[in-house]
């Protein structure tokens, strides 16, 4: 004789509820998974995983070289500095930025999930905080991870930081620089993505904005002879100039001042964060 379950019944729930903090944590994890294509089709994983992998390739190659070759043969090998490493992967970072925020932000409005989210303990502000944490977290895969691999390469080569204090300073610079890029690009990409609910439009808009700011700054500095500090208007290069200042290097942007970089980054971040917040404050979400 086989038993059959005819009605599983409805269970009441009187256990723990984690409130706003739990909701933010859940949304951050879900958004990171979504941006990386986890729990989705294989096709959805190609772009994020491909981009992240490519961003690590130079660093992994350098680790391989210093690991496989004898020390005497690589003694004179000059590895790229932490800041100049971004010269190899800057385009990938920017492409990743153009992909991540639209995936994280536009999808919710397109699918109507925003209304479902805001019917939870989340408010508009805590929703945006969760989305910003998720975007910055995903971007950190390409802004913090590769320099950490480079640190390994330097240590293997015997050119790494010397002593605990130097290690702490190097790590602080790597994390600080990576966070600076992530935060600035998070605000920018979320601000622009908040203006449309179509991912493709947002991605195209971001790429176009990167190109236009590069062209405009080129004209201002090259043709009109403005000072190098005009690079603060160039959102394609500004974060990487700031990274140089954080690492105390002068490779690609020697004539740009630290103050200009910091003020420019703060201004871009605040303006785009304000755009995003203002846009969401006025959205009607129940339809």
């Amino acid at each position: 004789m086989t038993a059959r379950i005819l009605d599983r019944g409805y269970r009441r729930y009187s256990g723990e509820r984690r409130g706003v903090v739990g909701a933010v944590r859940t949304l951050v994890l879900h958004s990171v998974q979504r941006a990386l294509g986890l729990r989705r089709s294989a096709w959805a994983k190609v772009l994020p995983f491909g981009t992240v992998l490519l961003a690590y390739v130079p660093a992994i190659v350098f680790v391989g070289v210093v690991s496989l070759f004898p020390a005497r043969e690589i003694r004179d090998l000059v590895l790229p500095s932490y800041a100049s490493y971004f010269g190899y992967v800057q385009l990938l970072v920017v492409l990743f930025v153009a992909f991540v925020a639209p995936e994280i932000l536009c999808t919710d409005r397109r699918t109507g999930m925003l209304g479902v989210y805001l019917a939870s303990p989340l408010t508009r502000d805590t929703y945006l905080v969760a989305k910003a944490l998720a975007t910055a977290g995903v971007l950190a895969f390409v802004t913090i991870g590769p320099p950490l691999v480079m640190l390994v390469a330097f240590i293997i080569q015997g050119e790494g930081p010397d002593g605990p204090g130097d290690v702490a300073l190097t790590l602080a610079r790597i994390f600080g620089a990576g966070l600076a890029i992530s935060v600035l690009y998070t605000a920018f990409s979320m601000g622009l993505s908040s203006l449309t609910d179509r991912k493709a439009f947002a991605t195209a808009g971001l790429i176009l904005f990167f190109l236009m700011s590069n062209v405009v700054t080129g004209v201002l500095v090259g043709a009109l002879g403005l000072a190098e500090n005009a690079i603060v208007l160039n959102i394609f290069f500004l974060p990487f100039a700031l990274v140089e200042k954080i690492h105390g290097e002068s490779v690609r942007f020697p004539d740009v001042t630290t103050a200009a970089c910091v003020l420019g980054a703060l201004a871009w971040t605040m303006v785009w964060a304000a755009v995003c917040r203002s846009r969401y404050a006025h959205l009607q979400v129940t339809r």
Binding site: R11, G15, T26, S41, P121, L122
Partner: protein
Amino acid sequence: MSVAAATPVAPVVRAEGVVKHWGRTPALAGATLAISGGVTGLLGANGSGKTTLLGLLLGLHPPDRGRLEVLGLDPTRAGPEVRERVGYSPEHHSLPGDVKAVDFVRHIAELHGLPRREATGRASDVLWQVGLGEERVRPLGTMSTGQRQRVKLAQAIVHDPVLVLLDEPTEGLDPVQRDDMLRLIARIGADFGIHVLLSSHVLDEVERVCDNAVILHAGQVVAAGPLDELRSGGGGVVVEVDGDVRPVVDALRGRGATLHWDGTRLYVSGPQDGPALDVVEVADLVRDVLADLGVAVRRLQPRTLTLEEVFLGAGRTGGQAVEVADPAPQPAVGG
């Protein structure tokens, strides 16, 4: 009658003179209501302010004027606390197509604060409850409209809310799916003990599953209360006689009754001018007339209205809210 409705409780929803504009367009123009629980239908034509009211109850938008209370809390000030105890199923059908139903429902449970393990168990359970047990691992994009409506219902109750707001839950369903959905909604109110506020413009749905109804027109509550009370609002009696109705009509009119008739069936109420008569008094009047005339009677009973008659009797069948300078307070009526 649901379990929840049978127990006298404080109003789960209370609104007093609520005004809300979208830009310069008024959506609610001084709505006043009190809902005490059970399954309540929120009726109104498109543009009457139903969805706006749901948004305000969730604390998604502040009212321009007036006061709101949900589960004893002001949703404008205590939105997160209110929403933790309220479930919501939106009107739209679009959900993330590449997410499995069980993952989606579990995610919503976690958003409402349930720990991961509990959320996972309850997600499967409620999908069984709504009839999607076997389909729970299917991506939402591969599901029919009826199945997606069930998923929306599942995510609205997965965290065991005190109150669930359903915005047009039968939209896009065929008649069979609609029947199933209505049965489910009735079960949520009766068996699960969750108060339900069902927004709909389909009178028949509300009539079938609801204990109470609130009728919105042009941003104002034009009728509200238990369905039985609303339907008995016509007053008077229905009498069916055996034989010629003309002498009965003349005699009743002679005694001041208001009436109309259809064949041998008469709809009789008290005089339009003069003291109001209750149902018993009208029935006594009819009985006396029939006895005097010696006319046989086949049926004599209190007159009940259909919800459609109540809706039409409320005077308005559609239209958006209109601006009111100072909305007069409307009587708060509860279920």
